[in-house]
């Protein structure tokens, strides 16, 4: 059994209380930070811990905090991104239901790291229960003076509100989320300016994922070296929550060291493939990553190793497909989602994705033509020139389908039907 850090207070049937969180060492980091840290030291510690963002983009969190200039204007904002809409991903949901104060403490520490005065948790509307839990525990934290004016007697003040999204996938994108919070259309905004310079209402804004923020108290309490040592890979750091779904015996959320092998996750932690199923592929990090073929079954689940084989760790949501699953159908299912969720701002994404969907529908229905394959390849390539990262992510599954499973597409075309039906 690996050490459980983020899930240390996880109970199958209830949410950890403030007392339970405190007994496990909760809010010690905050007390320490407010007493003994200059806010710049907080940033440095996080930089040294090599914490990479857990929301999918793997941006170094310490660098993000560092990019809020010392003389940046006030007020500054800290936003917790709980808009978990990546298909297959449910780690933040589990985390909020397990230990909400860990997230709150993480937010306060990150807030202190940039001297933010206002905190916002942006949560997807389907997570109404989680939103309720957070709102309830924010009040509890406030009563204990972890939030509000002069936290724990220090000069630092922060309030946190929970904001329910109107609900669109694109709202998970940093700049789109900022627009959504300001009541604008959630169109992404190409930097510069970066949100840490000009974010919400033109003020410096740091936006981080739930799981990322939850790591912060532990880094402060145990030190950067401890955090780095948690990972199995040399360059990695920390643990990672893997949300496993698909044709496995025990789908669910597992906190495992960064760099654990995919084979180990599937076979040991998720209980192996269900009877009669053979591993065919998986999406290693949510719907916007590529199908991982059997030859990479043993890959180390960390950012760099996946990048090395042309894939991404993404959110760490592993969707496992077996040999009886049609991957054209799977890719079509995902493209259908992305075509619907495009914000509609730029042409490649708005019109290109429905085009790709149309081609896949035809292939899946046995109406495909051989020429569709090069068309798909070129279009997927061109979608990398879209406005934001949504479109390149959206074609991730299709691109990997073309790369690793072209034979399966050809079978659809030549047999004029889906070979799995």
């Amino acid at each position: 059994m690996y050490p459980q850090i983020l899930f240390q207070n996880r109970h199958p049937d209830r949410v950890a209380t403030l007392d339970e969180y405190r007994q496990s060492g909760g809010y010690k980091a905050l007390t320490d930070v407010l007493k003994n840290f200059a806010y710049m030291d907080v940033r440095q510690t996080i930089v040294d811990a090599n914490l990479l963002g857990r929301g999918g983009a793997a941006f170094p969190t310490g660098m993000k905090l560092m990019s809020v200039a010392e003389d940046a204007p006030f007020p500054r904002y800290i936003v917790c991104n709980a808009d978990e809409m990546e298909p297959g991903t449910f780690k933040d949901h589990v985390l909020i239901h397990a230990d909400p104060h860990m997230i709150i403490e993480g937010m306060i520490i990150a807030g202190f790291g940039t001297l933010a005065e206002h905190g916002i948790i942006f949560i997807r509307p389907e997570y109404e229960r989680a939103a309720g839990i957070l709102e309830r525990e924010i009040v509890v934290a406030k009563e204990a003076n972890y939030l509000g004016k002069n936290i724990l007697g220090s000069d630092y003040s922060l309030d946190i509100v929970v904001h329910r999204s109107a609900g669109r996938y694109i709202c998970g994108e940093v700049t789109a989320q900022i627009n959504a919070l300001m009541g604008k259309r959630p169109n992404p905004q190409q930097p510069p300016p970066y949100p840490t310079t000009k974010g919400l209402w033109g003020q410096p804004t740091v936006l981080s994922n739930v799981e990322t923020l939850a790591c912060l108290p532990h880094i402060i309490r145990n030190g950067e070296q401890w955090f780095k040592d948690l990972a199995l890979t040399e360059a990695g750091a920390g643990t990672k929550i893997f949300a496993v779904s698909g044709k496995v015996n025990r789908p669910g959320c597992y906190e495992l060291p960064m760099g654990v092998r995919l084979s180990e996750i599937i076979e040991e932690h998720a209980g192996g493939m269900i009877a009669g199923s053979e591993y065919k592929a998986c999406l290693p990090g949510g719907a916007s990553t590529g199908f991982l073929p059997p030859e990479h079954y043993d890959v180390e689940m960390d950012f760099q190793p996946l990048r090395d084989i042309g894939n991404r760790l993404g959110t760490g949501a592993i969707m496992v497909f077996d040999h009886k699953t049609c991957l054209v159908g799977a890719a079509l299912n995902l493209i259908q989602f992305f075509a619907r969720e495009s914000c509609g701002w730029c042409t490649p994404c708005r019109e290109g994705l429905p085009y790709i969907r149309d081609l896949l529908v035809r292939i899946e229905n046995g109406e495909g033509e051989e020429e569709y394959i090069p068309m798909l390849e070129r279009m997927c390539k061109h979608l990398w020139s879209a406005y934001c990262a949504f479109a390149p992510g959206a074609v991730g599954p299709v691109e990997s389908l073309l790369k690793h499973f072209k034979g399966e597409i050809r079978e659809h075309v030549s047999q004029k039907q889906c070979p799995f039906k």
């Binding site: 669109r168 694109i170 259309r185 190409q190 075509a339 619907r340 969720e341 495009s342 914000c343 509609g344 701002w345 730029c346 042409t347 490649p348 708005r350 019109e351 290109g352 429905p354 085009y355 149309d358 035809r362 068309m375 070129r378 279009m379 061109h382 020139s385 879209a386 406005y387």
Partner: protein
């Protein structure tokens, strides 16, 4: 599956025609390259050609300067770059960026090597076009945009012809957007120009983006008339046919029209436009780029205010006592009768009235005619007191103070003094809004309930408070030393300016905040109205601008004048003369003949009862006009005149720019058919259609026995006003006009004419001062003839302050009767909080008989207003 994505009949679509149109659109940019600022100019290579551009220039703009037109949809010079359409992709080969990137999103930098023809970039752009055409209907043959459609152009030039996509097309529901703009959402390619223009640029919110992904919709929440008075520009900026010009719908292709650059005469700004004639009918007007004035856009009053030209009811034949005669016969009859009257009753028995909607030629020739006959000087304004204010503006607009409309956009503080921009000169609002978007503070000192699509501070001060507040504001921002640097008179005037104690306590706090903004500004602009303000305000505005310059600010002055050629009229008006004097002259029998040159006192004069009484006594009423006005009906002799589109003419806008409105079309000529077809003329008659009307000034010249050989000869203008000797010849007047330098007179500075301290207690509580005001739609004379604008007019109403309404036990929406000495006016009442009390605002509305109000500053007893119904 051989479908063609640009619709059949490509050859018919006038691709070449539209290429030229689009290219000239960008040429205006090329002609006016951004300011060159020395060593920071980056040098880059585009398609193997090197170019040096100003820093901050986008690659797409740099390419334009080389004459390379990179495709674009979302990019627009006025709206900037947003990177939405992705069709301007080029390949960056060297420099800080690599690979396929959007040329609109990247600023030119040293060492960049860019290829627009790279295979990968071309293939990407081709895909973008294909994607855009997935849902675009094949309705080019019946689409009004066909022939000047950017999408059509790009589809052809991008090489996309064969439709590969086998899926269905998307279908949207179209909306009713009012009488000016036709909505056809299926054609939309989602470039976001419309929503960005409408919401960000003009500040109106009723049209925008809804829904997401490929269901994204541009329109209103519900069907309805667009609220922005700048909505017609949607037809210009939409790169395809989603928004098309409704009044000219299905009337002609771009190349069918006789198109000609002209200027707008529906207010004093003189915006640049293009007028389009077909079958002897002016049917469409579009914005024309102007660096100095309107930029890329115009307002709806201007765009649609031209329909008087082609009205069926336009008087087209000369009449003597209602009998149709040949025009030369009528001119000779006028000549003869006027000579007779002059012989019988002396030279002062003839009076002439013109108006500021006439060309400079007509104004000057009228003056010349009066002069050679020793008649009294012509009068150009019918409202009492206006002439003096216009002349003050003309003589106080010193060249270094004058700013153009586009320069207003660069201001960091704008003081609007006694002006209601959206109602008096709508395009000024767009300029102010751009200034505000860049951070300018905007302060409006005006008693009316001014409403603007931008954030501003409104001090609804009474008319008599304006000078005190302005002077106080100036004193807070300029110190005495600075004032004294302009000389003794400036110092004296500074000392005489009222200080804080004079300011009513209602305003003190607001004024001090505003003073702070003015103090910190570097480039303030004073916008000064001349319509409702007391006589000393235009001069005071100029003094304040001078003092601000003395305080090291690049201060500018921007007057609004009553009429397109009010500046020209002001140049040659007799300061003492007035229409009221003429009326008096007729009443006492001194004046026996009246010439009305392109003006209509039935509409303009505030006392109709008196006007009609006087005219009963008149022996001879000569009317020259192109409008079917009341005056035309009453004329003894009527001479039809040409509109500005039918003759070359000069107009001087409010900042003193002499501009040429070129002849677009000449009446009596055969119908021009540049395309095939043999469509019949629309009006049948025995004579040559439209052949009668002549430029008013040509007929006036005949009456003055002045022989002008060439239609292009303007040397004679200097006979009327010597300053015009320096005016270049007609052919040499540049597109952006020539600024008239010599009208200003520095001797008029610092007269120290401030009103006395404002004393509210002196206000007669039982009286209201009547102020006649303009509205965006419904009060301007020419646009009032455009039936498509009638729907946009709000119901005409009189407006008073809440406290006044309460004292009369009236409320918003009441129907009231206002009794005056001259009659009564029944009108709806509007009650507003954001205006001065003690006044009653009455619009000079075409649907209101406001001419019972009487001339001059009129006060009416509150008792004369009562509720009806």
């Amino acid at each position: 599956m051989e479908l063609f994505d640009c619709g059949f009949g490509i050859a018919d679509c006038g691709i070449i025609n539209l290429m030229i149109a689009e290219f000239s659109f960008f040429q205006s940019e090329i002609r006016n390259p951004k300011l060159v600022n020395g060593p920071t100019m980056p040098k880059l290579v585009i398609d193997d050609r090197e170019i040096e551009v100003a820093s901050g220039t986008k690659v797409i703009e740099a390419a334009e300067q080389l004459g390379i037109m990179i495709p674009r949809f979302c990019y627009h010079p006025a709206l900037g770059s947003v990177g939405a359409c992705r069709v301007c992709a080029v390949k960056f080969l060297q420099g800080p960026f690599k690979g396929v990137q959007m040329s609109c999103m990247i600023e030119a930098q040293d060492g960049m090597v860019v290829s627009t023809t790279d295979e990968e970039a071309v293939d990407f752009r081709k895909h973008v076009i294909e994607w855009l055409m997935l849902n675009h209907p094949h309705d080019c043959p019946v689409c009004d945009e066909g022939g000047h459609c950017l999408l059509q152009d790009m589809t052809i030039s991008g090489g996309h012809g064969t439709r590969r996509f086998a899926g269905n097309k998307r279908t949207y529901t179209d909306q009713y957007l009012g009488p000016l703009v036709q909505h056809e959402m299926n054609r939309c390619i989602h470039c976001y120009r419309c929503s960005r223009y409408y919401q960000e640029y003009t500040g109106y919110l009723d049209l925008g983006v809804m829904r997401s992904a490929n269901r994204t919709y541009f329109g209103r929440f519900k069907d309805g008339i667009l609220e922005s008075p700048f909505s017609g520009n949607l037809s210009d900026i939409c790169p395809t046919g989603v928004y098309t010009d409704k009044p000219s719908r299905f009337f002609g292709r771009r190349w069918d029209y006789q198109r000609c650059p002209t200027v707008c005469i529906n207010c004093s700004l003189g915006c640049h436009t293009v007028i389009s004639f077909r079958y002897r009918e002016a049917r469409r007007q579009e914005a024309r780029f102007s660096e100095a004035i309107n930029g890329y856009f115009i307002c709806d009053r201007g765009r649609y205010g031209h329909f008087y030209t082609s009205l069926e009811s336009r008087p087209r034949s000369a009449l003597i006592n209602g009998r149709q005669v040949a025009i030369d016969e009528a001119v000779q009859a006028v000549h003869k009768k006027l000579t007779q009257i002059r012989q019988d009753a002396g030279s002062l028995a003839v009076a002439a009235v013109g108006s500021s909607r006439s060309s400079l030629e007509t104004l000057f020739m009228l003056k010349h005619l009066c002069r050679v006959n020793d008649w009294g000087d012509p009068v150009f304004f019918m409202n009492q007191g206006i002439t003096a204010k216009v002349q003050t503006a003309v003589t106080r607009l010193e060249p270094e103070l004058a700013v153009s409309l586009r320069e207003v956009e660069k201001a960091d503080f704008i003081l609007v003094l006694g002006a209601d921009p959206i109602n008096e000169a709508p395009m000024l609002v767009l300029a102010m809004r751009q200034a505000q978007r860049k951070g300018a503070a905007i302060v409006v000192l005006d008693p009316r309930p001014v409403s603007l699509p931008l954030e501003f501070i409104h001090l609804p001060a009474a008319l008599d408070e304006l000078s005190v507040l302005t002077a106080n504001l100036m004193k807070g921002a300029v110190d005495r030393t600075a004032a004294a640097s302009l000389g003794e008179r400036a110092a004296e005037s500074y000392d005489a300016a009222p200080d804080g104690d004079w300011v009513d306590e209602t305003w003190r706090e607001l004024i001090s905040g505003v003073t702070h903004d003015l103090q910190n500004s570097l480039q303030p602009v004073i916008v000064c109205g001349t319509d409702i303000v007391p006589h000393q305000i235009p001069g005071l505005a100029a003094d304040v601008a001078l003092l601000l310059r003395a305080a090291q600010k690049r201060a500018g002055l921007f007057y609004l004048l009553p009429g397109a050629n009010a500046f020209g009229s002001g140049l040659i008006s007799d300061r003492e003369g007035s229409f009221l004097q003429i009326i008096e002259g007729i009443e006492n029998g001194d004046i026996k003949a009246l010439i009305l040159a392109e003006c209509d006192p039935w509409r303009e004069f505030e006392d109709r009862k008196r006007l009609e009484g006087a005219l009963e006594k008149l022996e001879l009423l000569i009317v020259m006009d192109y409008l079917n006005s009341e005056a035309v009906q009453k004329a003894h002799i009527f001479l039809p005149t040409a509109t500005l589109y039918e003759a070359d003419g000069l107009f001087i806008n409010q900042e003193g720019l002499v501009q040429i409105a070129a002849q677009a079309y000449e009446g009596g000529q055969p119908i021009v058919q540049s395309a095939g077809g043999d469509h019949p003329a629309r009006i049948y008659g025995a004579g040559i259609p439209e052949a009668e009307a002549r430029p008013a000034w040509r007929m006036l010249a005949q009456l003055a026995d002045k022989n002008i050989e060439h239609t292009n000869d303007r040397a004679w203008l200097a006979d009327v006003l010597p300053e015009f000797a320096s005016l270049p010849s007609m052919e040499d007047i540049p597109d952006d006009g020539v600024r008239l330098q010599s009208a200003a007179n520095a001797d008029l500075r610092f007269k120290g004419d401030y009103a006395s301290p404002f004393d509210k207690t002196k206000l007669q509580d039982d009286h209201l001062e009547v102020i006649l005001v303009d509205w965006t739609f419904g009060t301007e004379e020419l646009s009032a003839y455009s039936s498509c604008l009638w729907e946009l007019e709000p119901e005409p109403c009189a407006t008073m302050h809440t406290s006044d309404a309460e004292s009369l036990d009236l409320s918003d929406g009441n129907r009231v009767v206002i009794e005056t000495e001259n009659g009564s006016l029944e009108v709806n009442l509007r009650v507003a909080e954001n205006m001065a009390s003690g006044i009653l605002l009455v619009p000079r509305h075409r649907r209101l008989d406001w001419q019972v109000m009487g001339a001059g500053r009129v006060r009416i007893s509150k008792n004369s207003i009562r509720k009806v119904g």
